[in-house]
C-alpha cells in the first residue's frame, strides 16, 4: 500500500507540465513593490521634481548617489524653488536597491521602477547620469530649462498635502 502511495506521488509529478520560464522570450511580471532601476520624476508642467537637496545621497547606505546642486533662475528654471540637481549620478553597481533614497526624498522625485535588466560590459557604463535617469517631459510640455514668471515657483515643494 505504501508502495502505491509513493509511486502515486511520482506519477503525479511526471504528468505535470514543465515549470520553466523561458526568460528572454517570456518574462515573469515583477511584484508591484519590486525595486529596480531608479527614475527621476517630473511635475505635470515639465519641471523636475528633484531640488538637489542630497538627502538621497545622505540616506544611501552604499554611497552610490552623487548630487551636485545649482541655483535656479526664472530665466532658466529646472525645478521649483531655489536649487536643482545639476549633476545626478547613481552607480548601479554600488546601489543595493534598498529604496532608502525613495523614502528620504522630500519631493518624491526619485522612484525605484520595475526595470531590472542591468548588465554592463564596462563598469563605467554602470554610472547612470541624470539624462539617463530622468523621465521625458509629459506630452506637449517643454523640457527643462523653462522660462517662468517671477514669483510663481518660489517654494521647493509647491503643493504640500496635509497628512491624512
Amino acid at each position: 500500500m505504501n508502495l502505491i502511495r509513493g509511486f502515486a506521488t511520482t506519477i503525479k509529478h511526471v504528468l505535470e507540465g514543465p515549470v520553466t520560464i523561458q526568460y528572454p522570450e517570456q518574462e515573469r511580471p515583477v511584484r508591484e513593490r519590486f525595486k529596480g532601476r531608479h527614475a527621476l520624476k517630473r511635475y505635470d508642467n515639465g519641471l523636475e521634481k528633484c531640488i538637489g537637496c542630497s538627502l538621497c545621497a545622505a540616506a544611501c547606505p552604499a554611497d552610490a548617489i552623487w548630487v551636485e546642486a545649482a541655483e535656479n533662475t526664472d530665466e532658466e528654471r529646472f525645478s521649483p524653488g531655489e536649487r536643482y540637481a545639476k549633476t545626478y549620478e547613481i552607480n548601479m553597481l554600488r546601489c543595493i536597491f534598498c529604496g532608502y533614497c525613495e523614502d528620504a526624498c522630500p519631493t518624491e522625485a526619485i522612484v525605484l521602477e520595475h526595470e531590472y535588466r542591468l548588465s554592463f560590459n564596462d563598469r563605467r557604463d554602470a554610472i547612470y547620469t541624470k539624462d539617463r535617469l530622468i523621465d521625458p517631459p509629459p506630452h506637449g510640455v517643454p523640457a527643462t530649462p523653462q522660462v517662468t514668471e517671477p514669483g510663481q515657483f518660489d517654494r521647493s515643494i509647491p503643493d504640500m498635502e496635509n497628512p491624512k
Binding site: 528572454p24 552604499a62 554600488r94 542591468l118 548588465s119
Partner: protein, 160 residues
C-alpha cells in the same frame, strides 16, 4: 548562428568559421561554481527548474576549473579569498570568461572596507558586470545573454 546563404535545394548551408566557433562557444559554456555569498542562492535558483540554465547549454555548475569556461563570481570576495580566485582562474583552460554577479563582486557594494576586494576586476579580467543586490535570476540570465552577444562579435584575428 550566422547563416550566410543556403544553396538551392541541396540542403547545404554555408557559414563562416568564426560564426560556427562562436556558436559552439556560446552554446556549450559550462560555468564554474563560485558562490561566495547570498548571490550564490540566486545563482542556484537560476540553475534550478524555474529558470533552467540548461537552456543555454550550461548543464552543470562545474566545481573544477579544468572543465569550465565561465566563472560566475557570485558574492563578495575577501582579501583572503582573492589569491584562491586568481589561482582557480589561472587553472581554467582558454577561452575563458568571467561574469561578476552582483554589487559586491563588481565593486564592493555596501562593503567599502579593508576586508573586501573593491571589485573583482582588480584580480581577474571581467567581461560582464551584473548589477543587483542580489540580482534576480532574470538579471543573471540577461548578463549571460549579454556575454553571448559579446562572444558572437569575436573575430579570428583577435584570437591570436
Amino acid at each position: 548562428m550566422g547563416l550566410t546563404s543556403k544553396l538551392g535545394n541541396m540542403g547545404i548551408v554555408t557559414t563562416r568559421l568564426e560564426d560556427t566557433v562562436n556558436w559552439g562557444r556560446t552554446n556549450a559554456m559550462w560555468p564554474m561554481l563560485f558562490g561566495l555569498a547570498c548571490c550564490a542562492i540566486e545563482m542556484m535558483s537560476t540553475q534550478a527548474a524555474n529558470y533552467d540554465l540548461s537552456r543555454f547549454g550550461m548543464e552543470l555548475m562545474r566545481p573544477s576549473p579544468r572543465q569550465s569556461d565561465l566563472m560566475i563570481v557570485a558574492g563578495r570576495v575577501t582579501r583572503k579569498m582573492a589569491p584562491v580566485l586568481r589561482q582557480l582562474y589561472d587553472q581554467m583552460p582558454e577561452p575563458k570568461w568571467v561574469i561578476s554577479m552582483g554589487d559586491c563582486a563588481s565593486c564592493g557594494g555596501v562593503f567599502n572596507n579593508y576586508a573586501i576586494v573593491q571589485g573583482v576586476d582588480e584580480i581577474v579580467p571581467v567581461d560582464v558586470y551584473v548589477a543587483g543586490c542580489p540580482p534576480r535570476p532574470e538579471q543573471l540570465i540577461h548578463g549571460i545573454v549579454t556575454l553571448h552577444e559579446r562572444i558572437k562579435q569575436e573575430r579570428i584575428v583577435d584570437w591570436a
